[in-house]
């Protein structure tokens, strides 16, 4: 096998580089990040010759040392020595694109230049003399069209040939005689320290005083001093700094190239400019932006994305579904009829009435509760029926699907006394079954809840199908639970998001590829700059209100690395749809107990937004997010309709990387949590005290989780939440299990309090939840709000954490993000609880002081002026003369 030839793909952003890369490789390669930065790195073999490996460099305008994109590109060219470089140029923007070309040509590698978008140029009526350009650049030039796949093989062949020849491009003589002679002198000073083919590159970098770039040379102090003398002389005669002189002269030389090689037709208003007249219009700009955002939100989260995700979650991973709509309708009708029968209520009512008459109901109740009635059970029921012949139950209360009592035709009773009986306001009338006779009872006993499996065209859900299959194969309960609850439950939570992520990225990739994203930054910059984020941070936050996973992924479109990291960290603080059940639980408790009002739900969104703004302002003043101010000097590229192929690949890349990276971490975490919550010591009354799978042990109660390792861990960690008012192990345990998916908080409560299938809409659940925060008979609203606030703001679910990890691609940043989120959530919880306790109970203690101290610290960090850090600018300007380079 021939040795692999590495070819780097360089070019400006929006020059069609990604399209070219996809056309050349079919994009089945590696997509990851460059080490240590959130800049994307793509690598794949050439379709036509698998020994040629293409590396897609980030889109850049220059090889300056100021942005991570530029630094990784420069380091790759100079240190990793690709065998050749393809420099792709957008000819509709020739002048600015050639600026990068002049620098790439100096990097001491064979270079081939591709002139992209020549067709567009012809439409404008401009003519380029490619031959002349080639001779002026000293490199082969090929006219191509990445979009229409024209001449791409020719360009690649030229490049591969150049790579095989191995002759480095010389670099153009673009400088004035004065600068040129200075460069010669510097080159002589540097001498043998630099490798031969990089002599000119390093001479220019020394002249520019690019300290990072010349560091590997290890120049001596004498050499630096000598160079400094040469540079200073030129600077003095030009009255400008060296960096500006070099940049200016490059552009001056490009102007002469333009004159020689390009004939320009008279300018007309381009389509792009016409679109921009409307889209970034002073009056219409904001409404259009709002409309686009609402459209994205609506399509991705309301119309298509969420229903698709719900469909997958509900059908594929929960209940199964019908492929046949007639069966579906029949099943629905039968189910409704079954529910209208209120059979369970009738049975309970009849048994209670019989009990009052002194008839023994215990054998019959036990028999009725059995999953599969045995012959003995049937006999017990028959015997009971014979005894209870004359019993008639009257006014049996009805329950709805959530297990709530109802009044006046289906309205939920929200107030219950301690025995679970309804407390009604005057004028309300409890819904009841008037009379239940023995005939009704018999009918109820024999009524079968419709089983979807009995209908044609029913497709079983994955968990249920796998359960059946595993049980059929004789697997133990622990194995079934591990596979179904642990693995399928966890991985299902990842897969469920795929439709939503897919839809979202179809839209976002389009907005990005067509050029609208840059306009978003243009329109919104003013607002977001105030708290240190960019205009593009808005999109991830909108998306996060649906789901944090695509929200974090959407940060990819932010061009500034610091903003990218900050947005990825903070965006999950917006309540996502999985947190809504928690919010409605709190609403139920507060409104149901007459303590609260309608403003609870909006308050949590408001809390999320405030948390993000406060965090952004605070973090901006910390070292990791500090540094030189990032310039907002940005190209507004021409609008164009992306090619379907490249659009599709773009979407696929994003979705695939989510599945791969987020999937693995969630898998591991889900299994871990499953283990914690299902294994433990059988310590209940009658338990044998051995360690094992709790559900499988003899006599395990419904509240088996009380004895799990999770309960132990919850108990051990609960002291952390003591100051927040919810230092009981149940709250801690459910917080941990909510990491799988936030809505698990509610179902875990159900298990912990033995409420079985109660939902966030069940009054019994509200009571259980309220009971956890009841101190001496009063509901501790502060502790409850602190608990919810903590769960809203702390580390998101594993799916989102996995995505943050993938986005940061750096364990340090990942843990910093998770740590900050938890820490901030804790502080907010502490503030809420301590403030409430102070106002409502008048208690003042150690933690009150801590709360106020932390509050003061937050205010200080919020309002203090931007601290001064070492500026990299000075570093670069001074380092040449100061640094005795090691």
């Amino acid at each position: 096998m021939a040795e692999t030839t590495y070819i780097a793909l360089a070019g400006n952003p929006n020059c069609g580089k990604t399209t070219l890369f996809n056309e050349l490789t079919g994009s089945n390669g590696y997509v990851g990040n460059w080490p240590g930065v959130t800049v994307e790195k793509k690598q794949a073999p050439w379709k036509k010759d698998r020994d040629v490996e293409l590396v897609d460099l980030p889109g850049i305008y220059s090889l300056s040392p100021y942005s991570p994109e530029e630094v990784v590109s420069r380091d790759f060219l100079v240190n990793d020595r690709p065998d050749a470089v393809v420099d792709l140029i957008d000819v509709t923007n020739l002048e600015r694109n050639l600026y990068l070309t002049t620098q790439v040509l100096e990097a001491g590698r064979p270079v081939a230049v591709g002139l992209n978008m020549c067709d567009l140029l012809k439409e404008r009526g401009d003519v380029i003399d490619a031959k002349k350009l080639s001779s002026m650049l000293g490199a082969p030039v090929v006219e191509v069209s990445a979009l229409r796949s024209r001449n791409l093989d020719k360009l690649m062949q030229q490049t591969v040939d150049a790579a095989r020849d191995g002759v480095a491009t010389k670099g153009v003589r673009c400088f004035s005689p004065e600068v040129e002679s200075a460069l010669q002198k510097v080159q002589a000073i540097v001498g043998d320290t630099a490798p031969a083919d990089l002599a000119r590159w390093y001479a220019i970098k020394v002249f520019e005083r690019d300290a990072d770039a010349i560091e590997p040379l290890g120049l001596s102090t004498e050499q630096l001093d000598a160079a400094e003398e040469v540079i200073a002389a030129v600077e003095k005669s030009r009255d400008d700094d060296a960096e500006s002189i070099v940049t200016g002269e490059r552009y001056d030389w490009i102007a002469t190239v333009m004159d020689a090689c390009v004939k320009k037709a008279p300018r007309q208003l381009t389509t792009s400019q016409k679109i921009d007249r409307v889209v970034t219009n002073r009056v219409l700009g904001l409404p259009i932006f709002a409309a686009v955002m609402i459209a994205v939100y609506w399509v991705a989260l309301v119309a298509v994305g969420t229903p698709a995700t719900d469909w997958v979650n509900d059908n594929l991973f929960s209940d199964g579904f019908f492929v046949n709509s007639a069966s579906q309708q029949k099943y629905d009708a039968d189910t409704a009829a079954y529910e209208d029968g209120h059979y369970a209520d009738k049975i309970d009512g009849f048994l209670a009435a019989a009990d009052e008459k002194g008839i023994d109901t215990s054998a019959a109740s036990k028999a009725l509760a059995a999953d599969d009635r045995s012959a003995a059970d049937e006999r017990a029921i028959k015997a009971f029926e014979a005894e209870a012949a004359g019993v008639v139950a009257r006014d049996v209360p009805q329950h709805d699907g959530d297990g709530n009592l109802t009044h006046d035709g289906g309205k939920v009773v929200t107030k219950l006394d301690s025995n679970g009986n309804a407390i009604l306001s005057s004028g309300q009338k409890l819904d009841v079954v008037k009379t239940v006779t023995l005939a009704d009872f018999k009918k109820a006993v024999n009524a079968q809840e419709p089983n979807p499996h009995d209908y044609a065209g029913f497709v079983d859900s994955v968990p249920s199908a796998v359960t059946g299959w595993l049980q059929g194969a004789g697997a133990s309960d622990a194995v079934v639970s591990l596979v179904v609850d642990g693995v399928i439950g966890g991985v299902g939570s990842v897969l469920g998001f795929i439709p939503q992520i897919f839809v979202l990225f179809v839209l976002l990739c389009f907005l990005e590829d067509c050029g609208y994203m840059s306009r978003v930054a243009f329109v919104m910059d003013r607002v977001f700059r105030r708290f240190g984020l960019s205009g593009k941070s808005f999109i991830p936050m909108i998306v996060s209100s649906g789901c944090g996973v695509p929200g974090v992924l959407a940060t990819k479109t932010i061009e500034n690395e610091r903003d990218r990291r900050m947005t990825a960290m903070l965006t999950t603080m917006i309540p996502c749809s999985a947190k809504l059940p928690i919010i409605s639980l709190v609403m139920g408790v507060l409104i149901g107990a007459d303590n609260g009002a309608w403003w609870v739900a909006p308050m949590f969104y408001f809390l999320g937004i405030v948390a993000i703004v406060v965090s952004a302002v605070m973090l901006k003043k910390t070292k990791p997010f500090q540094g030189e101010p990032m310039p907002f000097v940005m190209e507004l590229p021409d609008y164009h309709f992306p090619s379907i192929r490249s659009w599709a690949l773009h979407v696929w890349e994003r979705v695939a990387s989510y599945i791969r990276k987020a999937g693995t971490i969630i898998f591991a975490a889900a299994v871990a949590i499953w283990f914690l919550s299902n294994f433990g010591i059988a310590g209940w009354k009658g338990g044998d005290g051995s360690f094992g799978f709790l559900q499988g042990m003899a006599g395990a109660p419904d509240t088996y989780m009380d004895y799990s390792i999770l309960a132990g861990v919850g108990g051990a960690l609960s002291f952390v939440f003591m100051p927040l008012g919810f230092g009981n192990w149940q709250a801690t345990a459910s917080t941990i299990s909510a990491l799988i998916a936030k809505e698990n908080l509610v179902s875990t409560f159900g298990v912990l309090y033995g409420l079985g299938g109660a939902t966030e809409n069940s009054v019994s659940m509200w009571q259980g939840f309220a009971g956890m925060f009841t101190v001496a008979g009063t509901l501790h609203v502060g502790a409850m709000c602190a608990f919810v606030a903590f769960n809203m703001l702390c580390a998101p679910c594993f799916a989102a954490m996995g995505t943050i990890r993938r986005q940061m691609d750096d364990p340090k940043w990942f843990w910093f993000a998770i740590g900050y989120e938890c820490g901030f959530g804790w502080v907010v919880g502490l503030l809420i609880n301590q403030l409430y306790e102070l106002i409502a109970f008048g208690s003042f203690g150690f933690w009150t002081v801590v709360a106020f101290a932390l509050f003061a610290a937050i205010l200080f960090q919020l309002f203090r002026p931007m601290p001064k850090w070492d500026e990299k600018d000075d570093h670069i300007l001074q380092s040449l003369s100061e640094e005795p380079v090691a």
Binding site: Y61, N93, T247, T280, V283, D525, V633
Partner: protein, 78 residues
């Protein structure tokens, strides 16, 4: 001396000198705003900042603070 910040929408000017240093200055120059370049101020964003200019045949956007680093002369209404 007038800076690009003072140039009104629809006016064209010539870059005289770039003040400031480091990342911002280099970035502005990398994008083609160098000495003697003609710049047309094209538009102001809906919220009054940033501005959009046409330079070297393409559209560039920059904040007013950054425009202040660009000293210009020869302002004419295009």
């Amino acid at each position: 001396m007038a800076t690009l910040r003072d140039v009104k929408v629809g006016q064209e000017c010539t870059v005289e000198k770039l003040t400031g240093a480091g990342a911002v200055k280099r970035r502005i120059m990398d994008m083609g705003v160098t000495k003697n370049t003609r710049v047309l101020v094209h538009k102001v964003a809906p919220l009054g900042d940033p501005i959009e200019v046409t330079v070297r045949g393409y559209e560039l956007t920059l904040r007013k603070d950054e425009a202040q680093c660009i000293e210009v002369a020869d302002i004419v209404t295009a």
